[in-house]
Structure formats: structure tokens, C-alpha cells
């Protein structure tokens, strides 16, 4: 696979995409390269390296918005915003070397989604070069905007199949005055532990920044006691956090832990891991959690759940041999849920078992509209031109 010369701006991206259309050469989009093993295998004629589209374009702290080129890493954004006491409240799973462009393109999120939502709730606007080589500037730089049809939302989670995101504007928040994390030891069988935590979350007037249930294996992996733990992150002014802390203690034995557990949780996947997210209604999460942690735990994996979103994320160890891949195929059949199943990472050989994410006519028409020749990340969503 050849590499197209790294483009330095949207104009050059557009030229590269028009070339790709003219020569019918499909492109594999690469930013920081941290997501290359996610999504379906892509068979492209060339690589479009976007890592040089880098840097913060505009940041006025008082506006709580930041515009950056797509290849800017999350680490760089964290550094720049942190100096002004602000943060981008996405913090998706994976390394901080990942780029903001990939975060939006894959709609990746992490534990803070409990309080702040997912990329679609953060994106204010973007510049995109569509698969047909048109440069589109969607949305804007202000926090409220309903001008025209919402092309920004359309690009969020499209995995680059509609266009190459070259610049984004995101909403920021102030770092809370107090920000403390607690680990609560939950008693009883898995289902009850999960249900208890959910009940507490429903009843409490406090809104934790994050509330993540960790299986014993996951707790162990992030350096905590090997048992089912609820990680609760509380933010706000000092009085609020102190009061919330007392409320958390009603749930079980509580200990303050270092905020670094969140980084460890986000980076807990071993190389080659299979990662699957299962979704349900919050009230059905307990049963799902109990079933899934058992399956995953028995195979040496770990799981965690973002309770308020009703999502369990399962991490299974790498399957390097053909036997282990067949075993994984069997496990994947058991990892289902009524609400949703989103596969993040899977050995290439097993993707054929996963239904395409768009079999509906509307999605297919959207795809044909924005990438008529199928030149961008072909096959990554299980689609074909």
C-alpha cells in the first residue's frame, strides 16, 4: 500500500481525494495511528497520512471553545486547556496520543460521558473534505447553532467514510474546583451490586462526573483491590463534593483513590485485545452485567460499565492462535444484549460474523452521496461502494 504525501491543509486533502477519485484509488485514513486496529479491516490502495494536520487554531478560554486541526492529539489539547483550568470532557478510552479527529470520527467516549455526554454533545463544528473532494465547513464556533442541516453530527461516528475531518471546534468546560475519586466496595453477587449502584444513582441528588462499575479483574488491572468496585468521580465546589462524598459512603466501604485510576482504566486494554460494548436500558443493566462479567472473567478478560449510559464494555485478551480465535468466535456469540452491541476491536478473521452497521437504505444513500466512489476507508463499517 502506497502513502500519499502528507497533506498540510484541507486544500491538499481535497486534492488528494480528487486524485483518489480520478484514479479510483481508495484511501486508508491515518491520524495518530492509535485506532488502526479498530473497526473492520480496510483494504485500501493507499494511505492518507493526516498526522501533519496538527495544532490548535483558535482558543479563547473565555469562550470555552477550542478549534484544532484534526491531527492534534488529545494530550496536546489537555495541555493547552489545562493551563486555563479547563478540559475537554471526552477523555475516550485509549491513549492520549489519539487525535481529536479520530475521537470525533469514531465517536469514542469514556467514563466522563456519564455527566458530559459523547462526541456528538461536544462537537460545535468541523471542516470536512467529503469523499467527492468538496470542502465543507459545518456548524460553527459558538455553543448554540441551528443554522442549516447538521452535517457535523453526520460526520461524528462515520469513521471517515463520508469525509476526512480536517478541523474541529469543540466545547470545553471548567475544571471543577474540587475533583475527587472514590472506590466503593460493593457487596453481594454481581447483579445485586450493579442494581444497588443503579438505585443509588437514581435516588441521589448528586450527579457524579463519572460512575464506573469495575469487575474484579478490571479493579485489579488498574491497581485496586481485586473485587467489584464502583469508581465514583465527584466534582463541584468543596462543600458539594464533601456532601456528595458522605452520600456515596451509604453505598459501601468507600476509599479515596488517586485520579490516575481513570488514566489506567482508559488505557487498560492489552495489545490485540477484543473490545465489545453492550448496551441496555439502565434497569436491565444488572442482569446484563452479571451475565457478561461471568463470561468475560472466565476467559481472562475484564469488564466495566458506564452505569448511567447502560453500557458494559468487555475487554478480552488477544487471540494469537487459530484455536484461540475459534474460542473467541464462540464467546462473541454469547456477548449479546437487547439494546445494542458495538464491536470496537476484533481479530480480522471474525469480523465477517458481525452484521454491517448500515443495512438501512438511508445510511446507504448518505454514504453514496458523500463518497460516491467509495474511496475513503472502504469496508470499515461493513459497507461497499
Amino acid at each position: 500500500m502506497s502513502t500519499v504525501a502528507p497533506p498540510l491543509d484541507a486544500l491538499a486533502v481535497a486534492a488528494a481525494i480528487r486524485d483518489a477519485n480520478a484514479t479510483r484509488t481508495s484511501l486508508r485514513l491515518v491520524g495518530g495511528g492509535t485506532w488502526l486496529d479498530a473497526g473492520r479491516p480496510v483494504h485500501a490502495g493507499a494511505t492518507l497520512d493526516l498526522s501533519s494536520l496538527r495544532g490548535v487554531v483558535q482558543y479563547e478560554p473565555g469562550d470555552f471553545t477550542l478549534t484544532a486541526r484534526a491531527g492534534t492529539t488529545l494530550a496536546e489539547i489537555a495541555g493547552v486547556t489545562g493551563r486555563a483550568g479547563q478540559w475537554l470532557t471526552l477523555q475516550p478510552h485509549g491513549s492520549l496520543d489519539g487525535t481529536i479527529g479520530a475521537t470525533i470520527a469514531t465517536a469514542s467516549w469514556g467514563p466522563l460521558a456519564s455527566a458530559y455526554g459523547t462526541p456528538r454533545d461536544h462537537l460545535l463544528g468541523c471542516e470536512v473534505v467529503t469523499g467527492s473532494g468538496e470542502t465543507v465547513r459545518a456548524g460553527g464556533r459558538v455553543v448554540k447553532n441551528v443554522a442549516g442541516f447538521d452535517l457535523s453530527r453526520l460526520m461524528t461516528g462515520a469513521w471517515g467514510t463520508l469525509g476526512v475531518i480536517t478541523e474541529v471546534t469543540v466545547r470545553l468546560r471548567a475544571r471543577p474546583e474540587a475533583d475527587r475519586t472514590f472506590a466503593v466496595a460493593l457487596e453481594g453477587p454481581d447483579e445485586r451490586a450493579c442494581d444497588d449502584a443503579m438505585r443509588w444513582l437514581r435516588a441521589t441528588p448528586y450527579r457524579p462526573l463519572a460512575a464506573e462499575l469495575c469487575s474484579a479483574a478490571m479493579s485489579d488491572r488498574i491497581g485496586l483491590e481485586r473485587r467489584t468496585l464502583l469508581l465514583v468521580r465527584l466534582g463541584g465546589n468543596e462543600e458539594l463534593v464533601r456532601s456528595a462524598e458522605r452520600a456515596v459512603a451509604e453505598l459501601g466501604t468507600t476509599a479515596g483513590v488517586d485520579a490516575a485510576v481513570w488514566d489506567r482504566l482508559r488505557e487498560s486494554e492489552p495489545p490485540g485485545a477484543t473490545v465489545v460494548r453492550l448496551g441496555s436500558l439502565p434497569t436491565e443493566l444488572g442482569a446484563l452485567w452479571a451475565r457478561v462479567t461471568r463470561i468475560v472473567g472466565a476467559r481472562g478478560g475484564a469488564s466495566h460499565a458506564t452505569l448511567t449510559r447502560g453500557v458494559v464494555r468487555c475487554i478480552l485478551p488477544a487471540a494469537p492462535t487459530s484455536e484461540s480465535i475459534e474460542e473467541l468466535r464462540g464467546i462473541m456469540k454469547e456477548l449479546h444484549a437487547r439494546g445494542s452491541r458495538i464491536v470496537e476491536r476484533l481479530p480480522d478473521a471474525l469480523w465477517a460474523d458481525v452484521p454491517s452497521t448500515f443495512s438501512d437504505p438511508l445510511s446507504r444513500d448518505v454514504y453514496r452521496t458523500f463518497d460516491p466512489n467509495g474511496v475513503l476507508n472502504p469496508g470499515i463499517l461493513g459497507h461497499s461502494a
Binding site: F64, F149, D150, L240
Partner: protein, 497 residues
């Protein structure tokens, strides 16, 4: 192209366009067979009530109006439109402020009779509603469970959830809680072709293209919501409402910047200037605002009781430091309600000042607020028009409105020019032309100033996916001239039999 204000939509109704969708007895009869004769209006006298929406100054007469009462009737009506190639405009309560629900010689499809709250699931904090459910009645129905529906447009006692979805409606409390987009989990959409599709996922995570995100805010151009699954929020444990009184608009704007910069996220942060205060206080919605103030801020903080007093005290301090003469705290729920009533009815109070009201909805980056307010003041003075500012200051979402006599062509022209300049200034400040009201008809002339031809063409292309024949709310949102040929536009999908 003329427009904004009354300039184009003077008080006489425009002549309905005669064309493919001219009403014929056959269509009315076929519709009556679906919904019953009483629910099809044809006579000009009957249609008069549907000649305008919430934005005074425009009047357009639909060719006929039809009001289905059930989901099945709605589907049958839209499929009949599809078979006959009929163009139509969906309408909820008609409270929109951009002329989006006006039907110029095409069929008006009223959805306000679809008003069933299908379910409320308190444990999962969500509700499923039909599109004609009134925003506030959902909050009222959810209240016994300690929940409410957060987006609160000022018209919330009249506007419908279907209309809110179409406009991606906001409201004062969207500063903290987010706009409609952030609260809709799924929509069952009826496309103009008559197809029924589910967008989003009511039971789990959404996967694939965010068609739900594209649909919310599509102003009726992508189809109709047959039902909407929304997220409900828990009622806050405590609420504190403050009224700060400023001798200068600049001081109020500075206070807004200081509050936002502090990291406190008030539930709402609203600014009203002297002309607005005076209009409100002269109306039946008088809220006891200080009539000699240059500006007031209405600020609400909410959440757990712990720590709330401290946030309120800090907010109060920021106001005083920015020059507030007084900061008063609402004493009880009734007092709070009265303070809010004045704000929520401000547009209505202004509407009483003259026959026409030009309503704007621009957004600027929040650090630009003090500058832009000064600019607006200068523009108003130069054109001799009195701008009333009442807006969601915390979001930078301005509503510079002007009440004027639409029958006075000279005055209307001055208002039109002033509004154009204000919009240009907001765009130049890095802002946008609408934060929550939508483009509709009224903001169409500004689309070219805000977006490149490629971007507008991409919007048209997206619309064509949902509505290849552009029959649903024709002529709105994206100027027709910008819908040039798009490389990848797919052929229209076959309609269902």
C-alpha cells in the same frame, strides 16, 4: 432578495403559487376519506388561522390544511402526498419564530392532534411522546416522578415536542442542560416517501451514521416525527434565582463573562435591556423588574442544596463587581415564577408595541458579548430603530428584536437595514445567524453569508437523501439557488407500495 422582517411579508397575504400542488377537489376528498371532512380545511376563512406562525409580519396562505388525529392517519396522508407528488409543510403549534411553518400555496399538515404521551419510564428516565404533545405538559406529566423535560423554549406552554425536534429548540435552561438534540434518544420518522424508519436507538447505544442528529433540527425538511423518545431529567433538589440590576448594559455583559469564566454553570443566565424591561413592565406580564435599570440579569443556579448557596454568593459577587446596583434573590417559588414569567413573555410584550416584530436569534462567542451589544446599540441609533435585547447571555445567544409599524415602508426599510447590519456584525464576530429559532424563511437571505457554496450544496444533498423530491417544507432552510448538482446524489429510492 428581500426579507427579514415585514419587508417581504407585508400584512397582506401573498398570492398562493399555482402549480403542481394547487389544491384540487380530488386531493381534498381523498384526504377527507382518511381524516374525516371536518379535519380538512379549504375555505380561505378557515385557513386564515394558519397564514402565520409565531413570527409576526409574514402571512402566507396554504392551499389547504389537513389535521390527522392518529399515527395511521398521518402515515396514510403522507403516502397520499407521495403518490400524488404533493408538497406540504408540517406544523405543530405554529409558535416558531423563523417562518418555518408557513405554507405558501402548498398543503399544511397540522400535527397538533397527535398529543398522546405514549409512555413515561421513570426508572430509565425517558418518555415516548407523539409529536403534538405540548412541551410543558410532558414536564407536568413527569413531575409526579420527580422528573421533567429540560429544554424549555419560552413558548413551552404552547409549543410541541415535534416542533422542538424539528427546530432543535433551545430555551433559557439549555445553558446547563443542553438543547433538544441532547435530550432526544430516538425518533420514529415518517419520511416524505411514506417510509417509516427508526432513527437513534431507544434501548441502547446508537451505531452507524448519526441520522438522528441530522434529523433533529431539520425543520421539517427531512420528514415528520411520529413519536419521539426523550430523556427526562431529575428535578433539582434546590433552585436559587437571582435578579441583578445594572446601570449599564456593558456592566451586565461583563458580569456574564465573569460568571461563565468562573466555571460555575448556571441553569440559566438571561439578559434583558431597558427597552425590554419597559415593554414587559408595561404589559400584563409585569414581573417587578426595576424600570430604571439599563439592564438586568436573571440568573438561576440549581442542583443539590449542598454548595448551592456558595455558587449563588459567588454569582452575586461577580454582578456587584461588574457594577450591579442591587442583586435580589427570589424569596419563594411564586416570586421565582413571576420573575421568569416576565422573561418568558418578553417577546409577547414586545409584540404589543407595534404591528410587526423583527426577531433575531444570532449567537456570538461569549467573550464578544460586551462588544457586540455596543455595536448593536450603535447600529440601532444610526438607523433610528429601538432594539430590544432579551437573550440567553450565558450561551451568547442574542435576540435583538425591533417592534415597528409594518405599514410604514420607510420604517420597515430602516429596520430591515439595521437587522442586516446586526447579523453581519454577529457573523464577523465569529458567530452564527440562529441559535435556536431555525432558518425557516426569515433567515434564508443570510445563509450565503455564513456558509460556502460547497457547504450549502452538501446540505441540499443531505436533504435529498431524506426527501429526493424536496416536497417536505419546500423552499425553507437552504436557498434553492445553492442546490446545485451534487456529485454523489443517489437516485430517489422507490416509494413503498
Amino acid at each position: 432578495m428581500s426579507t427579514t422582517v415585514g419587508a417581504s411579508g407585508s400584512s397582506t397575504s401573498s398570492v398562493p403559487a399555482r402549480g403542481a400542488s394547487h389544491p384540487d377537489d380530488g386531493l381534498a376528498r381523498a384526504l377527507a376519506a382518511i381524516v374525516g371532512e371536518r379535519r380538512v380545511l379549504e375555505r380561505p376563512g378557515e385557513l386564515r388561522a394558519y397564514e402565520s406562525d409565531g413570527l409576526p409580519g409574514y402571512q402566507q396562505r396554504p392551499s389547504l390544511a389537513v389535521f390527522p388525529g392518529t399515527r395511521d392517519e398521518t402515515i396514510a396522508v403522507v403516502r397520499l402526498f407521495a403518490e400524488r407528488g404533493v408538497r406540504y409543510v408540517p406544523r405543530g403549534a405554529g409558535t416558531g419564530l423563523s417562518g418555518g411553518a408557513l405554507a405558501d400555496g402548498v398543503v399544511l399538515l397540522g400535527l397538533h392532534r397527535l398529543r398522546e404521551i405514549i409512555s413515561i419510564d421513570p426508572d430509565n428516565r425517558r418518555a415516548v411522546v407523539e409529536p403534538g404533545v405540548v412541551n410543558f405538559s410532558l414536564s407536568r406529566a413527569a413531575a409526579p416522578y420527580g422528573l421533567y423535560y429540560a429544554p424549555d423554549p419560552s413558548s413551552q406552554t404552547a409549543c410541541t415536542i415535534g416542533g422542538n425536534v424539528a427546530e432543535n429548540a433551545g430555551g433559557p435552561h439549555c445553558l446547563k442542560y443542553g438543547v433538544t438534540l441532547n435530550h432526544v434518544l430516538a425518533v420514529t420518522a415518517l419520511l416524505p416517501s411514506g417510509e417509516v424508519v427508526t432513527l437513534g436507538n431507544p434501548h441502547g447505544e446508537m451505531e452507524g451514521y448519526d441520522l438522528l442528529g441530522a434529523f433533529v433540527g431539520s425543520e421539517g425538511c427531512f420528514g415528520i416525527a411520529l413519536d419521539v423518545t426523550v430523556r427526562l431529567e431529575p428535578l433539582p433538589q434546590a433552585v436559587c434565582t437571582l435578579l441583578a440590576d445594572f446601570p449599564t448594559v456593558h456592566g451586565a455583559a461583563e458580569a456574564v463573562s465573569a460568571i461563565i469564566a468562573s466555571g460555575i454553570v448556571p441553569a440559566a443566565l438571561e439578559l434583558m435591556d431597558a427597552p425590554t424591561i419597559q415593554a414587559v413592565e408595561a404589559s400584563i406580564y409585569a414581573a417587578g423588574y426595576p424600570t430604571d435599570a439599563a439592564a438586568i440579569l436573571l440568573i438561576e443556579v440549581d442542583g443539590p442544596s449542598a454548595g448551592l448557596d456558595e455558587d449563588a454568593a459567588r454569582v452575586s459577587r461577580f454582578c456587584t463587581e461588574a457594577g450591579a446596583r442591587a442583586v435580589r434573590v427570589a424569596t419563594d417559588a411564586a416570586d421565582r415564577m413571576r420573575l421568569w414569567q416576565g422573561r418568558k413573555k418578553a417577546f409577547g410584550a414586545m409584540g404589543r408595541l407595534a404591528s410587526h416584530l423583527a426577531v433575531q436569534d444570532a449567537v456570538v462567542p461569549r467573550t464578544r458579548l460586551p462588544d457586540i451589544l455596543a455595536t448593536i446599540e450603535r447600529i440601532g441609533r444610526r438607523h433610528g430603530v429601538r432594539v430590544c435585547n432579551v437573550f440567553h447571555a450565558g450561551d451568547g445567544n442574542l435576540h435583538p428584536n425591533v417592534a415597528y409599524d409594518g405599514g410604514n415602508a420607510e420604517e420597515a426599510a430602516r429596520v430591515h437595514d439595521a437587522m442586516g447590519e446586526i447579523m453581519n456584525a454577529c457573523i464577523a464576530a465569529g458567530g452564527t445567524i440562529t441559535g435556536e429559532h431555525g432558518i425557516g424563511l426569515d433567515k434564508l437571505p443570510y445563509m450565503d453569508r455564513l456558509f460556502t457554496p460547497e457547504t450549502l450544496a452538501a446540505m441540499c444533498a443531505l436533504r435529498s437523501v431524506f426527501d429526493p423530491e424536496q416536497r417536505s417544507n419546500p423552499g425553507k432552510v437552504v436557498p434553492v439557488h445553492s442546490c446545485r448538482e451534487w456529485h454523489g446524489t443517489p437516485a430517489a429510492r422507490a416509494r413503498p407500495a
